[in-house]
């Protein structure tokens, strides 16, 4: 995982490489302190050399200043490096997500993608920051302090040889158990969160059925389970500290005993003894720091996995590798659409039934095509194959007699306007939203499209007209207005093929009829696909494709179908009596 994530350090590499240099200076400055202090005690005081004491004292202060400077620098370096890493990672993730095909998008929920780009990346960058500091500082500290301690007195260092492994093994064992138990805590947290969320979403149901007490009982079970798991985990984790104190204090006692003899025997200075204890403390403390980094990385590991999952997602709809040079690439010029023996399932490995099968038809440029059928019969899937939002499993889709896979995705989609069922608008003005269709569209272009989509009038009814600010997702518009805007947005594109996926469901029949009229007059050169629930929406189409269970069960104009097609007749009948108003 580290290997995969490391490249994202990118241009901040120099900060990351320089960090250990200043950490080394910082550690050296810091570790010199006890040594210098011991010289004051052992040499300065015993020889009563005032100048010596002052000189060493000044050295110490200077070293502390060096420590401040080097510390500040390495903190800065590590922060710039790690925050830069985070920013690069976020950029890469965002770019990757933008490349996602519809299949890829369907696999992740929006909430989960947002979490990966925010919380998970933040987790990783903070861990990286900590690791950058601790993983260099602590081992350096440990090694140099050990060398210094050894230099003071090799014999006393044996104590360290025992204390060090004891502490390391102890901490390791504690960490292992604690990590396992914290994993359980995480599960319980997930459980409690989902109970909570369910209660919030279904609050009306809980109230309508008077189930507050029942729900409280369920919640308390989760709550107690969480508390238990927490206590079990934390109780182990807090053993770390007493363990370290025990080891450190025992070591100190032994050193004081052994060292005391040496001081009396004049083979060790009293100051040296004190500084030796300082080093022991620092060495043992370093181990704790390293363990801290391990704890953090364990948490970051999950984040790393989630981030990598996005980064390593295979984009299944991409430009062909052998695409010709840009000038030679095909463009959509007429709007002819042909399906040849198309079969489709969302996943090739899926053993289930095809979503679409045996689909073959040809639509001439400028024709208006209705697609009709029940939910789940594959209507949306069918039209999604035209702009290659999904790739066919078998057969081929051709636009202007060229396989859609032989276009550059960008060129293909530039020629196709599409209004999705999920008609998202973006925060910004109405104008900005319409300009998504074509970024060089003039006001006149926008107005033409808006008129065709029956949106111009209501846009002008707003005080700011085309400059009206839309909230996120167009919250301040009605459903019908939103749909008309999304239709206009697609029309601004001036596409050769226009696809409307059930996008007039909230528009009243009269307005819808006006929109349809524009298909025949102003957009006579455009091939139009209309998916609809209402038969009235497709009645006048040149061709109507009737889908049932992924297969074409009828194709023709309204009159022919009504006369010959049983399923079409059935739909027609049910709508005559069934629908008041949708």
């Amino acid at each position: 995982m580290i290997k995969k994530l490391a490249p994202f350090i990118g241009q901040y590499r120099k900060y990351v490489f320089l960090t250990p240099v200043f950490i080394l200076i910082d550690v050296l400055a810091e570790l010199s302190m006890p040594l210098l202090m011991s010289r004051i005690v052992d040499i300065g005081i015993s020889t009563r050399d005032v100048n010596f004491i002052v000189r060493i004292g000044i050295y110490m202060v200077l070293l502390a200043l060096v420590g401040i400077i080097s510390g500040t620098i390495f903190m800065r370096l590590s922060v710039v490096g790690s925050m830069g890493f985070g920013a690069n990672l976020r950029d890469a993730l965002f770019t990757k997500v933008q490349e996602f095909s519809f299949t890829n998008i369907d696999r992740f929920s929006t909430a989960s993608l947002v979490t990966r780009l925010t919380n998970d990346v933040n987790n990783l960058q903070m861990t990286f920051m900590m690791a950058l500091r601790m993983l260099f500082r602590s081992p350096l500290m440990l090694i140099i302090a050990f060398i210094l301690a050894y230099n003071i007195n090799a014999e006393l260092s044996i104590v360290l040889g025992i204390a060090l492994p004891v502490l390391a093994i102890g901490v390791g064992l504690i960490l292992r158990t604690a990590t396992r138990r914290f994993a359980i805590v995480q599960e319980r947290i997930d459980a409690i969160n989902s109970t909570l969320q369910e209660n919030l979403i279904g609050q009306r149901v809980v109230k309508a059925f008077v189930r507050a007490d029942y729900e409280a009982g369920k919640f308390q079970k989760d709550n107690d389970a969480l508390t238990q798991a927490f206590i079990a985990a934390v109780s182990i984790a807090i053993l770390n500290f007493p363990l370290m104190m025990l080891v450190m204090n025992s070591a100190t006692l032994v050193i004081l005993w052994q060292g005391g003899h040496m001081v009396f025997g004049n083979t060790l200075g009293a100051g040296e003894l004190i500084s030796f204890i300082s080093y022991v403390t620092q060495i043992l403390f370093s181990i704790m720091m390293v363990s801290f980094v391990f704890v953090m990385s364990a948490r970051a590991k999950a984040s790393g996995e989630r981030v990598l999952e996005v980064l390593e997602t295979t984009i299944d709809v991409t430009d062909a590798a052998d695409l010709p040079a840009e000038a030679l690439r095909p463009h959509v010029t007429r709007g002819k659409v042909e399906f040849r023996d198309v079969a489709f399932k969302y996943s090739r490995t899926d053993t289930g039934d095809d979503i679409l099968k045996d689909i073959t038809f040809t639509i001439q440029p400028g024709e208006v095509v209705g697609v009709i059928g029940g939910t789940g019969t594959g209507k949306s899937t069918l039209v999604n194959l035209i702009p290659r939002l999904y790739d066919v499993t078998e057969g081929a889709v051709l636009v202007d007699d060229i396989d859609v896979r032989d276009y550059a995705l960008e060129d293909l989609r530039a020629g196709i306007g599409m209004v999705l069922q999920q008609n998202t608008l973006f925060s910004g003005t109405i104008r900005e939203n319409l300009m998504w269709g074509r970024d060089d569209a003039t006001q006149a272009d926008l107005e033409t499209a808006a008129r065709d989509a029956q949106a111009h009038n209501f846009i002008m009814s707003f005080p700011d007209g085309y400059d009206t600010q839309l909230g996120q997702g167009g919250v301040n518009l009605s459903g019908g207005q939103k749909q008309r805007l999304t239709i206009a947005r697609a029309m601004v594109k001036n596409p050769k093929i226009l696809i409307l996926d059930d996008s007039t469901s909230a528009v009243d029949s009269a307005t819808e009829a006006h929109i349809r009229e524009s298909f025949y007059h102003n957009l006579a050169q455009t091939t139009v696909f209309i998916i609809a629930q209402r038969l009235s929406s497709v009645r006048e189409a040149d061709k109507i494709i009737v889908l049932d269970d992924g297969k074409i069960v009828g194709m023709g104009d309204h009159r022919t179908l009504l006369a010959t097609n049983a399923i079409y007749q059935e739909i027609n009948q049910s709508q005559q009596e069934g629908v008041l108003a949708q």
Binding site: M60, G67, I201, A208, V210
Partner: protein, 653 residues
């Protein structure tokens, strides 16, 4: 996006303890350095603390014991450091080794006591913190269930979820660690300072000066940190919002070839955030080397001046060694307190937000009238069931002013009289609405979205309180009926159905908890849900997760109908489906709904012609007022709004 983010909370391993007081000569500088980037303050700290104490009171003995242990551990660490003086002066330098052994034994005991006390204190605080937050979560949940729907309308799910997760968690962390540390830091500071003065007032003056500088630096830095973290937070919000919008609309981005502008827009915002995050984290981190090395300067000054004093014979090596330990110990709390103080403050702010929810007014329920099971005799008289058997009929038990009770048969007679209502003060959603439904009648509401159809049904079971007018149920004002009884007598099927984690059977039984398996299956059969349930992998024992994500929308709706069917209420409210469900399932749902409507008073928000046509009365609502009423034929003849709706000339959404 009201959905709460995945796990806003993460369990945190308390790393390394971070207690400064124990063990001699903890190395200065460069601590683990996690600065918690939250700068929240409670609005009224005193009040919050008082209330928190209420929660802690039931564990006051434990807490007193913790405080005692804290004093012991802090005391032992102070004492352990002081011990260096006699150790060096009296035993090591003169070579008194039997004395040294004795002294070391005592020191060992002091260390041990300190260690045990520290562990004990942490262990108990874990219990206290966990039990306390458990109780708080329980109370919060119970409170949440009692809140009126109005509250849920004006607060996002994320907001409420974060009370349980972020706020309760911060509090838990603070209780587990920061609170005791904050106190023990202060005690350590005072203790170490006192010991230093005892050892050498002159030397203390030197160290004191450096400590003064530390405090000043600390102050300056804290301000900077706060400022920068706020800026970081703001920029993070911008980045998150952008990600959310662009990911949400990703399919549109693709269809419009808009990837490049989207990426460019992101890069710009991401860079701004990077700069802000860099500054914020820098100021937070730089505190550690700066404070650590300032502490080193105080250490150096003490060593130098102490050395000089020793040369002139006014100090000794043992005292110097002890003093140097204290010099280190005294600086540590200064670094730590800022962090701990912040943690405690944001915990208090979190607790305050939790208490705010707890202080929200609950649903008003002053109803005295309750439902009782009855048996109806052949002569029409009713008798109250007292033996607990499932009754055939129900009655309202109405207390009379003279202390007696009167029984009124539950028939399902509903009357709205001049009802005026608005969700917000000043806003009128329903204006002067009057209507009645006789037992067994079917009333259909028709009108555009936002006209007030759902609102009327919301008022019937008192999801919201009406501002003017009255609603009566069998002649009793619904405000006099206890809410649970009222709601139990009204079944409701919402258009967007919600299911709960559990088996299919559990979800049907939700309608009546004491229903047997057979009754649940019977309900499923009558609701037309049986056939699809049987085809599920585990039939009625299939586990439903994530609000029924493993079922289709139509199947969820069928289950919801079965759930209401099993509760068998005298009055029903149905919100018919408008969403695009395939025709087969739609047909099943219709049949299920029709079965449910039989022999009951039904209010239905109608979208289907067949429902409307068969209703006893159709009520056309527009702009919160009843504009037309009558049966199908009447209304068509009127050539009014109903006629327009019917012929599809009017936009409904």
């Amino acid at each position: 996006m009201t959905e709460a983010r995945n796990n806003t909370r993460k369990p945190t391993l308390p790393a390394g303890g971070g207690q400064p007081q124990a063990g001699p000569g903890r190395g200065p500088g460069g601590g683990p350095g996690g600065f918690r980037g939250s700068f929240q303050k409670p609005k009224n700290a005193r009040k919050v603390i008082a209330r928190l104490l209420g929660y802690l009171r039931r564990r006051s003995l434990l807490i007193l014991f913790v405080l005692f242990l804290m004093l012991v551990s802090t005391g032992s660490s102070l004492a352990g450091n002081y011990f260096l003086k006699p150790l060096i002066n009296d035993y090591i330098l003169p070579g008194n080794f039997s004395g040294l052994l004795r002294a070391l034994a005592i020191l060992g005991v002091i260390y041990l006591v300190g260690t045990v006390a520290t562990y004990g204190q942490q262990r108990i605080m874990v219990q206290v913190a966990q039990r306390t937050t458990n109780t708080m979560r329980r109370d919060l949940f119970a409170k949440m269930q009692s809140l009126p729907l109005r509250y849920f309308d004006s607060h996002t799910h994320g907001e409420l979820m974060s009370r349980y997760t972020n706020d309760v968690d911060t509090l838990q962390m603070a209780l587990e660690q920061s609170l005791v540390q904050l106190i023990s830091s202060s005690v350590t500071f005072v203790g170490a300072a006192t010991m230093m003065i005892v050892l050498s007032p002159t030397l203390s003056l030197v160290t004191g000066t450096v400590i003064g500088v530390m405090v000043l630096v600390m102050r300056g830095l804290t301000g900077r940190i706060r400022e920068n973290f706020l800026a970081q937070q703001r920029n993070l919000g911008v980045v998150n919002g952008y990600i959310e919008e662009m990911v949400e609309g990703l399919k549109v981005v693709k269809v419009f070839n808009h990837e490049r502008p989207a990426i460019a827009g992101f890069k710009e915002r991401n860079e701004t955030y990077r700069v802000a995050a860099t500054d914020a984290n820098f100021y937070a981190s730089v505190m550690f080397p700066v404070m650590g090395n300032l502490n080193n300067i105080s250490y150096a000054a003490a060593a130098m001046v102490g050395g000089l004093l020793s040369v002139v014979g006014r100090f000794d090596i043992g005292s110097l060694a002890a003093f140097l330990q204290y010099a280190r110990q005294v600086g540590f709390p200064i670094q730590q307190t800022a962090n701990q103080f912040n943690a405690v403050m944001s915990a208090l702010a979190g607790a305050e937000r939790v208490f705010e929810v707890m202080d929200e007014p609950s649903e008003v329920d002053e109803g005295q009238v309750v439902i009782v099971g009855t048996t109806k005799h052949a002569d029409g008289s009713i008798e109250v069931n007292r033996n607990g058997s499932r009754p055939t009929h129900w009655a309202w038990q109405v207390p009379q002013p003279d202390g007696t009770v009167e029984y009124v048969e539950l028939r399902g007679d509903v009357l709205l009289h001049n009802v005026t209502f608005g969700y917000e003060p000043g806003q009128v959603v329903l204006h002067d609405v009057s209507l009645y439904a006789k037992p067994g009648q079917k009333i259909a509401f028709v009108g555009s979205t936002g006209a007030g159809k759902t609102t009327i049904t919301n008022l019937l079971n008192r999801f919201y309180e009406i501002q003017e007018g009255s609603i009566t149920f069998d002649g009793i004002d619904i405000r006099q009926i206890r809410k649970d009884c009222l709601r139990n007598s009204i079944g409701i099927v919402l258009q967007d159905t919600h299911l709960f984690t559990g088996t299919v059977m559990d979800n049907i039984r939700y309608g009546r908890l004491d229903a047997t398996d057979e009754e649940c299956i019977q309900a499923a059969v009558s609701a037309n849900a049986h056939s699809f349930i049987r085809r599920l992998p585990q039939g009625y024992q299939t586990i439903i997760t994530g609000d029924g994500a493993n079922l289709s929308q139509g199947q969820r709706q069928l289950l919801a109908i079965a759930r209401t069917a099993v509760s068998d209420p005298p009055v029903m409210i149905l919100d018919e489906a408008t969403s695009s469900i395939d025709t087969r399932t739609e047909r099943l749902i219709e049949l299920g709904m029709d079965a449910l409507m039989k022999d009951r008073t039904v209010f239905v928000i109608a979208h289907r012609l067949s429902t409307v046509r068969n209703s006893n009365a159709i009520i056309v609502i527009e702009g919160g007022q009843i504009i037309e009423r009558g049966d199908h034929d009447d209304l068509l003849l009127q050539h009014g709004r109903y006629y327009q709706l019917y012929t599809g000339q009017f936009e409904l959404n």
